[in-house]
Symmetry: D2
Subunit: 234 residues, 4 copies
């Protein structure tokens, strides 16, 4: 696919980000929302349809295997060691006939191939076994991009006194970004874990993380996140 | 600000979009949601704090004066001629003291300078006089990026049998994008009106419209929108 | 349980409703929202935990077997004959340990015994076999009282051009009432189907339907609903 | 209006509540959600259209003047002395022409006379001067029954680390009840302040507080609330 010069794109994007940063800094954007006192992990769509090859939703495999999954494993270890809430999010549908008079896909199948993630194919929708949920962790089934929109997530987090969410997963330009934007709108300090967020097309991770960091959540490296999590130990 | 080569950025971005489009087309993304039967106009943050010079939120003035406002005037004429719902959206806050123990800014002032749009400064929050609301049009006051999140908008539109929204305004990377993503999630056919959407930093309009068109709404030119609106005449 | 005079309660309640109706009529309440053009059936919690004996959630069995289920069967026949959307709603939880640091019960187990409807007990949460879903009907899993709150329902209905919901099920004082109140708030014409709504304590059906009819939705008999549904035939 | 025997109604209602309580207790309902660590006051529709005579929305005046307003004054004193968040809620509309093709009343004017609370009549929608907001308190404008539905409230409260809401105001059978039911669904410990909740028809306060206490929030006397608030002092 990438028969153009990705490195050259990255170089030009960085110049654009630098110019934007100059304006944003002068105007008072790009502030730090920071970590709060009680974080939860919200891991978006790291299910087989997205993490494994051969599906329309398959993401950049090199990044998935070499960066995202390892970063998730680090995060999960820290969340589990500290007894903090973990939410695994997946997406699937009951009625995937695009001609049905009525479907839980709503209108989204009119934009993207959500008709392939049928709830009846349990394997496609299951969280990747390399980061599988353990007892006490929650698997949230969503229907739209955001893990918050039309789901029980905000209420569950508030009930558990969570004030901060660390967001990971795919894709940067859709479900991850929407989850982050809704997260801060719903009153949670929102952190995008840099190494643990992917996509499937060139540039999308870069420009979406740039927009997010400017306005909706802090982009933070996984090691800094782990240090923070471990600092919460009693 | 733009002391780098904007045209070169555009050229590289276009190459990235072409590569992504090849993948998206092969995978079944970038479908057309299309126009429905009863549209509303949702015009986001075309209030003085965003449309006029001298404010942290001020957007690209050349584009505002020469493209966005004229496109909005065309759209308003068509919506009004056909008696269709028009919603003007603005953003402002009651409690703008950043040290207050509690504020309607929520946590957003921890990322961006929302503390400057104080509800008491009626002029800043007022819709730009060049596109001012007329009798029967609605002015929605929102607190977050999306015109839907935490507002009455979805309920009002459904009650009026609206099935399609044409979205305009600023900024592409925040309030416009969030409104579009929530719009389709809430069950509305969502159209981004190409000439009527702006931002304040280089590249942001291009990459956000690309992401939107791939997954959340159709990017359509203003003249095609006007043709559609006029086709609804009895 | 009912070792007091239920008939005397009903007689006094009717007098209270008559007095309230005099005031409401004079003030302009108790208006008719009426049927729209495209209805959906939203049937709330008619799953075994509520419809069958022996569970904390079990409802009035005589009413269930002799009125609610037969009324539902009439409604389902009419919805199916006319190809209209049917949503069956049920409630269950993944994490039902009341001492868990974090659970999808949120705080609700601090008021009612939701910890008994564990998702792992598929039979408890399954829709009653007498009114079981057929191909093309949707089963919605909710976590709170309302079928709308924190669910995909409003978006799905809007995407399908639904403008009216007929609401049935249990209980009148909780999940049915909340679904109706949210339904009209979300912009749907809301009809409470009189014979198809139950509860488990004396008086609760009467006073909740009275409040609903005064302010949130029309209470309509099942036969009038069926007549309406059949009138929609092409 | 009350030309029937209110005392006799109360006596019979109490018998019904006793019978229901026997069942609820046996089944595990009527649990106590309790107070949390950081409360906010959510005072619903204590604006002139509801608190003063002569409007369709006017409530029971004797109870308003002799119980609700004095209880609110006690609560406000305690919230203010302890620097805790106070939200005053009111309801009003921009477009009150019932024949308009589109209105922020949604469909609610098809049930109740919301067309009388026009935003242009500032006095009707203003909070009662006996309990007027002071600097730092928030006035929330809502469009539906619930103070949460389609508003910024949940996000604002979460951002301020609020975990508990004390709810007051009118009416028991509509806006107060909906606010309480949404409150616990959104993850807040929800307390109905007994003396500070009213209505306009006989019985409605009694049966709605009964339902609320059984399933959605604790009904607690104002003096116990004040004791709790004062216990939070550093």
């Amino acid at each position: 696919m990438q028969d153009f010069d990705v490195k050259e794109l990255d170089r030009l994007l960085q110049q654009a980000f630098d110019a934007a940063t100059a304006l944003y800094q002068q105007r008072g954007f790009q502030r730090r929302v920071g970590f709060g006192k009680r974080p939860a992990l919200v891991s978006v769509d790291l299910a087989n349809a997205w993490t494994r090859p051969g599906n329309p939703f398959t993401c950049d495999q090199e990044k998935m295997d070499n960066e995202i999954i390892p970063a998730m494993q680090k995060l999960l270890a820290a969340f589990r060691a500290n007894g903090l809430p973990v939410i695994h999010v997946t997406t699937a549908y009951e009625i995937t006939d695009r001609k049905a008079p009525f479907t839980d896909m709503g209108l989204w199948h009119d934009k993207i191939p959500v008709d392939v993630v049928d709830l009846k194919d349990k394997d496609l929708c299951a969280i990747d076994s390399r980061i599988a949920p353990v007892e006490g962790e929650y698997t949230l089934l969503k229907k739209r991009a955001s893990a918050f929109h039309g789901t029980e997530l905000a209420g569950i987090l508030r009930a558990a006194n969570v004030d901060t969410i660390l967001v990971t997963g795919v894709t940067a330009c859709a479900c991850v970004r929407q989850t982050i934007c809704d997260g801060i709108a719903d009153g949670f300090r929102t952190i995008a874990v840099k190494e643990a967020i992917g996509d499937r097309v060139p540039g999308a991770v870069a420009w979406n993380l740039f927009d997010i960091d400017a306005k909706f959540g802090d982009v933070v490296g996984v090691d800094d996140c782990v240090t923070y999590l471990n600092s919460l130990k009693a």
